[in-house]
């Protein structure tokens, strides 16, 4: 599929789909793109599409996509449409994707569309809005105008451009100045299609000055036909706001996901995020954080536990543009069977960003000869008064530790499970939402035995 003609025809299929639905996307001037602030919407969509056309589907010739073959993942063919209205019918097992004991504002997105039939938002503090992005274009056009398309880089990222051209619905969260959202938001993205769909949800999360919130987004599989999700999330973290987000990916082994997140931080804000990948076919996460004011705190955690033929590629960027900030990044992975993992973490410290403390670490355990890991930590520092460190280790479980446990009577599998659980526990214990931590803990136990 790396043949230029094949790539060109893939790109053409997106362009054709765009033309076919251009009328729908421009309808009534109420879609989210119509609320984009910096251009007339239909024109912006067109511009984004043209940009996508110039950039093309990312191929492995592009250094940033060296290990993840998107053309191959798309080769099977997916129907591209701006998504039909969600169907109210979901297989009953969608409820398995809920977390028992979690008291949360529940948002359900079916095939990228907000489903009012399944969502249970509940009571909200004054001024808070949680809804679909399409609804938000009507309810809070001011917020969309101010933030949508401001942080995600559609000019250089081809899939972000593609998402921008097609964006219609997704998760919208707005927490106004000084408001604390006590309960977490649990947003379920359910790919549940009878045909092979290319889904493009667009999420916008806005937390104004001194706001506080926790959000769990989970892409949870319901079998059905294979899907390819190209999601883009923009997060605005206002001054002194405290925001915690989780991305949990267990879409099932037929589903591929590219998730691109751009978080923008204002002064003295705290942004913590954890990306946890349990399965999937091809999963690529682009996580970009821009602490664009002094005294920001940023925490990026990741845990990837692929088995089978799952490919997980995590690419992160912390772009320290301003001084006196702290960032801390820890990604851990366990690869089994023929799974492959990639960690490409970049910390960028610009010239004026003095007194930055930036730490980055990636540790991966490879359980099997057929599993592969590529780790590429990068520090690029232009300021002179900074404390930065990075490290990446890939290896097997410590044979000394295994022997110690076995010498106490534990089977090889039990000893291995105990050590892997401890290894993953380093990330799990940082999850502040107890029912989520418990669910993941259970999944880890099931995965590794004990």
């Amino acid at each position: 599929m790396s043949h230029p003609h094949a790539l060109a025809s893939l790109e053409a299929s997106f362009v054709d789909a765009f033309e076919a639905h251009a009328g729908l996307l421009a309808k009534n001037g109420t879609g989210p793109a119509e609320a984009l602030s910096f251009a007339a919407a239909p024109a912006l969509r067109r511009q984004a599409l043209n940009r996508f056309r110039d950039l093309g589907v990312p191929s492995r010739k592009n250094e940033a996509w060296k290990y993840t073959n998107i053309p191959e993942a798309l080769a099977a063919g997916f129907a591209v449409s701006p998504a039909d209205p969600p169907s109210d019918a979901l297989p009953a097992r969608w409820r398995d994707c809920l977390l028992p004991n979690l008291d949360a504002h529940l948002v359900v997105l079916v095939n990228g569309r907000f489903s009012s039939a399944h969502s249970m938002i509940g009571d909200l503090p004054e001024g808070v809005a949680i809804c679909g992005l399409e609804t938000a274009a009507t309810v809070r056009p001011d917020i969309l105008r101010r933030h949508l398309g401001r942080y995600a880089d559609w000019e250089t990222e081809s899939l972000t451009a593609l998402n921008t051209a097609f964006a219609r619905d997704g998760l919208f969260v707005y927490v106004p100045k000084g408001t604390v959202l006590e309960k977490p938001i649990y947003a379920l993205h359910l790919p549940a299609a009878n045909e092979r769909l290319f889904l493009q949800p667009r999420h916008l999360l806005v937390f104004e000055e001194n706001a506080q919130a926790r959000i769990v987004e989970r892409c949870c599989g319901l079998d059905g036909e294979a899907t390819f999700t190209n999601a883009v999330t923009e997060i605005f973290v206002g001054e002194r706001a405290v925001v915690e987000t989780y991305l949990v990916q267990d879409p099932g082994d037929e589903h591929s996901v590219v998730s691109t997140t751009h978080a923008y931080q204002e002064a003295a804000s705290t942004f913590s995020t954890a990306t946890i990948t349990l399965d999937g076919k091809v999963v690529r996460n682009n996580l970009n954080v821009l602490p664009n004011a002094p005294h920001c705190e940023t925490h990026l955690y990741g845990l990837f536990l692929p088995a089978g033929d799952t490919q997980v590629d995590n690419r992160t960027l912390v772009d320290h543009a301003k001084p006196d900030c702290v960032s801390n990044e820890l990604y851990k992975g366990v690869l089994n069977d023929r799974a492959s993992g990639v960690f490409n973490g970049k910390v960028f410290v610009r010239q004026d960003a003095q007194r930055i403390n930036a730490f980055q670490e990636n540790k991966t355990i490879v359980l099997n000869n057929e599993a592969t890991m590529n780790a590429k930590p990068e520090l690029e520092i232009y300021a002179d008064d900074v404390k930065c460190s990075h490290g990446a280790t890939t290896g097997q479980l410590d044979p000394e530790a295994l022997f110690y446990l076995r010498s106490r009577g534990m089977s090889k599998r039990q000893a291995q499970g105990l050590l892997l659980h401890a290894f993953a526990g380093d990330i799990l214990e940082r999850i502040s939402i107890e029912p989520l931590r418990e669910m993941l803990d259970e999944r880890v136990t099931r995965l590794f035995g004990e």
Binding site: F403, R406, G409, M410, F423, D426
Partner: protein, 253 residues
């Protein structure tokens, strides 16, 4: 029948022969000390008995309760009642002492056809065994050996011995690196655990430990063999004369 019967045991690591024909018989309830200079093969001997995989047994056999010990996996040996107190206990960050011991103990109970110990009884037992070696009960909520002092690590080994109640305990230089007070605590713990159906193989470089744990038999290992055996007075003789005369005899033989 002896608990442990070792005949002509040879073992090597990579291309290096380390054990060159060890013979040893340990009866039930006996305490055997194995002394010897550095590099004589003492720790290799302990490792081979516990089933460490990097050592290859090239000749000889080991019967434990009449069964072929070398044919068993390390965990099977543990379940059958063999315990090794490590010279260098391993740190296990993220594995709590509590969870580690519960799983180990319940594995052993299951092997014996017993129900898992109820939580209350387990905690009580843990407290009792910890008290035996003056191990701070607070350590039970910490990760295994993680950040423990040298003395705490060694006491933790004896604590585990007390918890798991083996029939054959091999102590690999449990005394090394301990000050005299810690040595006494460890020795008192071991003495409290001596029983007619529990044997000890105590490996040590120095005679000092044997002032506290009085052995039934003392063996001297040199160049991968047991070159001399005697009663506890042999240990004192070694302390006085050093190992050189043994080494010379070994070479002469």
């Amino acid at each position: 029948m002896a608990l442990l019967e070792i005949n002509n045991l040879h073992a090597r690591i990579e291309e290096q022969n380390i054990l060159k024909g060890v013979d040893l018989t340990v009866g039930a309830g006996e305490v055997h000390a194995i002394m010897g200079p550095n590099g004589s093969g003492k720790s290799t001997f302990a490792a081979v008995l516990a089933g460490r995989e990097e050592f290859e047994v090239t000749d000889g056999d080991v019967l434990y309760e009449g069964n072929d010990l070398l044919d068993m996996e390390p965990d099977e040996r543990a379940l059958e009642g063999v315990f090794l107190a490590f010279q260098y206990p391993v740190e296990l960050p993220g594995v709590s002492m509590n969870n580690f011991l519960r799983q180990a103990l319940n594995q052993q109970r299951e092997h014996r056809g017993e129900e898992p110990l109820p939580a209350g009884a387990f905690l009580k037992r843990m407290r009792e065994c910890a008290a035996l070696v003056s191990l701070d009960p607070q350590l039970m909520s910490r990760s295994v050996n993680d950040g423990f002092s040298g003395g705490e690590k060694k006491r933790n080994e004896i604590f585990q011995l007390a918890m798991l109640e083996p029939r054959l305990a091999i102590l690999d230089e449990t005394d090394s690196g301990l000050d005299i007070d810690a040595l006494r605590i460890v020795a008192d713990g071991v003495n409290a655990l001596r029983r007619s159906d529990r044997s000890f193989v105590v490996i040590t470089h120095y005679q000092r430990l044997l002032n506290y744990i009085v052995p039934d038999v003392v063996h001297v290992m040199a160049d991968g063999r047991i070159v001399r055996s005697g009663d506890k007075s042999l240990a004192l003789e070694l302390e006085e004369k050093g190992y050189d005369w043994i080494r010379e005899e070994a070479v002469a033989a």
